[in-house]
Structures are given as C-alpha cells and as structure tokens.
C-alpha cells in the first residue's frame, strides 16, 4: 500500500494552479502584458515629463503589483469552492496549511514574479535611475509575497461566507498599506541616495511573520468557511 506523499501533493497542487492559469503557453505572456498596460496608464494620464515619471515610478509599479494581487486573489479559492475541489483539498491526509501554501506560492508565481521580471524594463520606461533599480527589485521580492500571503486569509474568510460583512476589505487592505508605504518609501529614498536597510528589514520581518502565520490562518478560515 503506497503512502501518500506530502511532497507530491504540494508539487501537484502547485502545478495544477499554474496549469490552470496557463493552459496555453501563450497565456504566460498575459500577466506581463497586464503590467505593461497598467504601468503605461500613468504616463498617459499624467503629464509625461521624465522627471515627474521618475518621481512617481515606485508608486506606479507598486500600485500595479497591488492591482495584480487583488485581481487574482479574488479567484484564488472561488473556483475551487464552486466546483467542490476545495472540499477535496480539505479531505486529503496532508496538513492543510502546507497545501494552502502551495496555492499561495502559485498565486505569487502568477501575480508577483512576472512583475519582478519586468520591473527593470518598466523602471526604464518610467525613467527610473539605475541606483533605484536594486531597491525596487528588493522591495518587490520581499513585498509581493506578503500581499499573496495576507490576501489569502481574507479570501479564505469570505469564500463561502456571503454577506459575511465588510471583513475582507477591512481585514486585508489595511494590512497591505504598510507594505506599500515602506516599499515605495524605500525606493524613493534609494533614488535620493539614502539608506534603506531599515525599510528592507521591516519588509523582511513582515514577510517572515506572514509566512509563518498566514497559511495557518488561511487553513483555519477555510475550514470555517466550508462548515
């Protein structure tokens, strides 16, 4: 009687979510295009003055990240809930928080990673100086996983719970704000030649905290939502 392996389950779930996002190879381009479009909205709406663009660049890129997270968070558990896959997930012999983590990782790979890949190009389009590039990447690398992690709690709480209240938005968006402020601030400061280890340390510890707690909270929330 072969045993159920946690590793296999984790990988399969991750692969499944990625496959659902990119059924066709061509679809892998979609998130990248999405970022380019969102970022190019700003120069279009604002006055396309290079200095101005440089100043707002960190904010713009971070808003794009936030939007990507929000757009895809919504569907993180919804379709699984609707078609009963979520029930099945709860009924595997594996620890639920780890399976949830696989879904969160998939979400980040879909919504966060492409942004990291594109950030240098987008930075260039927005005239961001090369001295700000590393800080931008660093904050994105530390910050976008936090968005996925924290977001998953909110989604899990609201997935089945209709009329559950204003909870979701009130719960996750305020938690997003510190990430945004610190990250955008760090990139801005780096452009002005200031030290940013403080901000990075803060983002890092936020990430560590979210990493440790969010999957547990999400798993608990899912069990409650499915009750």
């Amino acid at each position: 009687m072969s045993e159920a392996s946690l590793g296999t389950a984790f990988i399969s779930l991750l692969r499944r979510d990625l496959m659902l996002a990119y059924r066709h190879r061509a679809q892998m381009l979609n998130p990248l295009l999405f970022f380019v479009i969102v970022v190019s909205l700003f120069p279009l709406g604002l006055d396309p003055d290079p200095d101005l663009l440089r100043t707002i660049a960190p904010g713009v890129i971070w808003v794009a990240a936030l939007l990507a997270a929000m757009l895809s968070l919504d569907s993180m558990f919804r379709s699984d809930f609707d078609d009963g896959s979520l029930e099945q997930l709860l009924l595997t012999p594996h620890p639920l928080p780890l399976l949830v983590l696989a879904k969160i990782v998939a979400h980040w790979l879909i919504s966060g990673l492409p942004l990291l890949v594109l950030a240098p190009v987008l930075g260039m389009l927005l005239n961001l100086g090369s001295e700000s590039l590393f800080p931008l990447l660093a904050t994105l690398a530390l910050g976008t996983p936090v968005l996925s992690l924290i977001g998953s709690i909110g989604v899990a709480l609201t997935v089945g719970l209709r009329g559950g209240g204003v909870l979701l938005s009130l719960l996750i968006l305020p938690l997003f704000i510190p990430v945004l402020i610190f990250a955008a601030n760090a990139v801005g400061n780096a452009g002005a030649g200031m030290d940013i280890t403080g901000q990075l340390a803060f983002l890092g510890s936020l990430l560590a905290l979210a990493f440790a707690l969010a999957p547990l909270a999400t798993a608990a929330a899912l069990r409650i939502s499915l009750n």
């Binding site: 061509a26 979609n30 295009l33 190019s40 120069p43 279009l44 663009l53």
Partner: protein, 251 residues
C-alpha cells in the same frame, strides 16, 4: 447569397480557398521579394540623404510602411472577421486569425524602427507621446485578439468572439490616425498621406511606395499561408482533406 458575388461564394468554401490560397500565397511571396529588393536598393542606396536628417532618415523606408501596415492589417482583420461572423465563412475567419500575428509583427516593427529613429531625432528612444502611445495600444489590441482566441477552445465560438473584439477595437485606429492632430506631439504630421500635395520629394516617395507594396504582398503571402494551415487543421476530418493527405502519402 445575392449579396455576395457567386465566385466569391465559391471561393469561400474551405476546399477552394485552400487551393487558391496555396497559389496566391506563392505568387505574392515572390512579388514581395522582388519589390523588397528594388525598394531597399532605391531607398538605402540610390535615394538622396534627407537635407535635414541625413542618412538616419533612411529608416523611414521601413518605419513608415510598417506603420501603415500596422493599421491596414488591423482593418482587414476586423473586416474579414466580421464577414466570417456574419456569414459564417470559415475561410474568412481563418484569414482574420492569420492576420493578427502578421499585424502584430508590423506594429512591433514600426515601434522598434520608430524608437531607433527617435534616438537621433528626439534624443530619446521613447516619449509618452500620443501617436507613439496609441501605436503601443494597437500592439496590445493585436495581442488581446490573439489572447482571446487562444483562450476559447471551440473554434467557431472563438471566431465570433474575436470578431466582436476586433470591431470594437476599430475605434482605436481612428484615434491613432488623428492623434497627431488632436494633441500637439513630437511625432511628424501627415506628409505622404496628405491628399492634395504630398510634401515629400519624388525620389523619396517612389521607394517608399515600392516598400509599402512589398510589405502588402508579404502580408498577403504570409497570412494566406497561415490561413491555409488553420483550415487544413479545422477540416481534418473532411473528405477533401483526407483525399489531399492521401494524395501526398501515395506519392
């Protein structure tokens, strides 16, 4: 069928279209090659350098035809998608689908050559200028068309859905063309396409037009070939395809 001429109706059957497209695509390919050689020779070697811009102006012979094509292909694509949707003609939808990647390629080419040209002319590769931006949007429209098509797995449904998208996107074409007049931009206004009196010297105009024709024939050749492939795949269970494949196998 009174609306469509009879020969066009016959042509629109997948089998006839496949035959026709095979021949036409070959011819167009050779014509395109010939025109390209002629156009490039006159444009790059035989025409005078621009009195203001020097040799960098020679990018024009690629940039301008590519930019024209980017819009032309879109209009053909939307038109043929619409015909495909309304009369349910597979060949027409297939031609629209085949046009999208070619159009996207021309758009990318116009953007790339424009950026290369912009560095010596404006001192920067990219400005967020109305025409440049709208051309970028055109690229997104093409990519959106292809993304939608690849996301729908039933081909009939895909053809009808993308037709609607293409038609709605037509609005953007107007905006691109008039962008130069509506906003004050860095980009040059209409010089060639002014109807009354083109403000361009004949020695530059002729190679430009030759290149434009070359691009058009290239487009036809490439798109017809792609449309052929799609039809063949879609009709793989039909008798004529089996016969066709059988012929080739027995050879």
């Amino acid at each position: 069928m009174s609306i469509i001429p009879n020969w066009l109706y016959q042509l629109s059957s997948p089998k006839n279209f496949y035959r026709f497209a095979g021949i036409a695509s070959n011819w167009c390919g050779w014509i395109a090659l010939f025109l390209l050689v002629v156009g490039l020779y006159y444009g790059l070697v035989n025409s005078p350098p621009d009195y203001q811009q020097g040799d960098s102006a020679r990018i024009m012979y690629i940039h301008v035809p590519a930019a024209w094509m980017s819009m032309f292909v879109y209009m053909v694509m939307a038109g043929s998608a619409a015909v495909g949707m309304i009369w349910r003609i597979k060949a027409s939808s297939a031609f629209a689908n085949a046009s999208a990647p070619v159009g996207a390629m021309f758009t990318a080419l116009a953007l790339a050559t424009g950026m290369l040209w912009g560095k010596p002319m404006w001192g920067t590769y990219w400005v967020w200028d109305a025409r440049l931006t709208s051309e970028l949007i055109l690229l997104f429209l093409y990519l959106g068309y292809m993304a939608l098509q690849s996301a729908i797995d039933d081909r009939d449904t895909a053809a009808r859905a993308t037709a609607i998208l293409a038609l709605v996107g037509m609005v953007n074409i107007t905006i691109i063309h008039y962008s130069v007049e509506w906003w004050n931009t860095l980009h040059q206004g209409a010089t060639v396409t002014k109807l009354d009196k083109p403000s361009i010297h004949l020695s530059m105009l002729i190679p430009l037009l030759v290149m434009a024709m070359a691009f058009k024939f290239y487009y036809l050749s490439n798109a017809l070939r792609r449309a052929r492939c799609e039809l063949l795949e879609r009709e793989r269970d039909k008798l004529w395809v089996r016969e066709l494949v059988g012929e080739n196998n027995s050879e």
